[in-house]
Amino acid sequence: MTDRRYHDMGGEPAGPVDPSTHEAEPWQKLITALRNALGDDYCRVDELRRALEDLRPEDYDLPYFERWAVAMVNLFCEKGLFSRAEWDAKMAEVRRKVQEAA
């Protein structure tokens, strides 16, 4: 059967579980806080899940918060919170600021 979607992985073969964990980094907490602060008005959990599920498998395989970042930007553009052009401009601006600060 080929109808199983990539994120729907219960029962699939996979390697051993690594039981270690680490504290979330500030930017990872920020990603989560943005979702929570936007709330259901602008970023419903089910909408975000759908945006995550719609990622290509290679993007879905990114680490958790990286995957969230990509899906959130896609969702916000789709919902019209900002345009792709506005996003590209803001990314360039922040990247420049980060480089200057370094």
Binding site: M9, G10, D18, S20, L30, L34, E58, D59, F82
Partner: protein
């Protein structure tokens, strides 16, 4: 041929000529930049304020497995409380000062004959309003894929070996309910106060991959 760009500005050519779509290596700093850029743009556009983001961060920091441990320690110490916790977990959590809204929390009880373990195979649903952010392994492909089909093997990878006469109940947290496990109070804890009891209830016990150790 359509030509779209994803969040990282990659061009996607949706055709079938097998042209090179080499994945671009992007370091974590790129995603950090994305987080900062989202924050700035969403504030500028007026969808959210800096104060709202700050308060969301503070709320997150206030949610840790110690809240779950407190609830379990009380249930171990007070049979009437345990009964209320199993019947209506959000109300019982509120009794000890923990508001788990908006989670529809369900507590599943380990007994001498039954062990419970929690997973979310479709994403990584987790009782965040009680325990905070889920650990890395809970979100991993290995855990999400395997714990439903070979739970005893996965538990062994956490060092937990279950006898064959124990019934193992896996709970896939796939829709609106959120779960924590009420572990069995271990032998050797007789006479312990709630604070000392809470000290042996770890996050992994609350998900059901380990047992409390005295």
């Amino acid at each position: 041929m359509t030509d779209e760009r994803d969040a990282r500005g990659h061009h996607h050519h949706h055709d079938h000529d097998h042209d090179a779509h080499a994945p671009i290596e992007v370091g974590a700093s790129e995603y950090e930049i994305m987080a900062l850029a989202m924050r700035e743009l969403l504030i500028e556009k007026g969808y959210v304020t800096a104060a709202e983001i700050r308060s969301a961060l503070e709320y997150m920091d206030s949610r840790t497995p110690s809240l779950g441990a407190k609830v379990i320690a009380k249930a171990w110490s007070d049979p009437a409380y345990k009964k209320r916790l199993l019947e209506n977990a959000p109300a019982a959590c509120k009794e000890v000062g923990v508001d788990v809204t908006p989670a529809h929390l369900v507590v599943v009880e380990n007994t001498p004959a039954t062990h419970n373990v929690i997973v979310c195979t479709l994403c990584s649903c987790y009782p965040r309003s009680l325990l905070g952010l889920p650990p890395d392994w809970y979100k991993s492909k290995a855990y999400r894929s395997r714990v439903v089909i070979e739970p005893r093997k996965v538990l062994k990878e956490f060092g937990t070996e279950l006898p064959g006469d124990i019934t193992l109940r896996v709970h896939d947290s796939n829709a609106d309910l959120r779960y924590i496990v009420l572990p069995l109070r271990p032998k050797g804890t007789e006479g312990w106060g709630e604070e000392k009891l809470a000290s042996i209830v770890t996050r992994d016990c609350l998900v059901g991959v380990t047992l409390p150790v005295v």
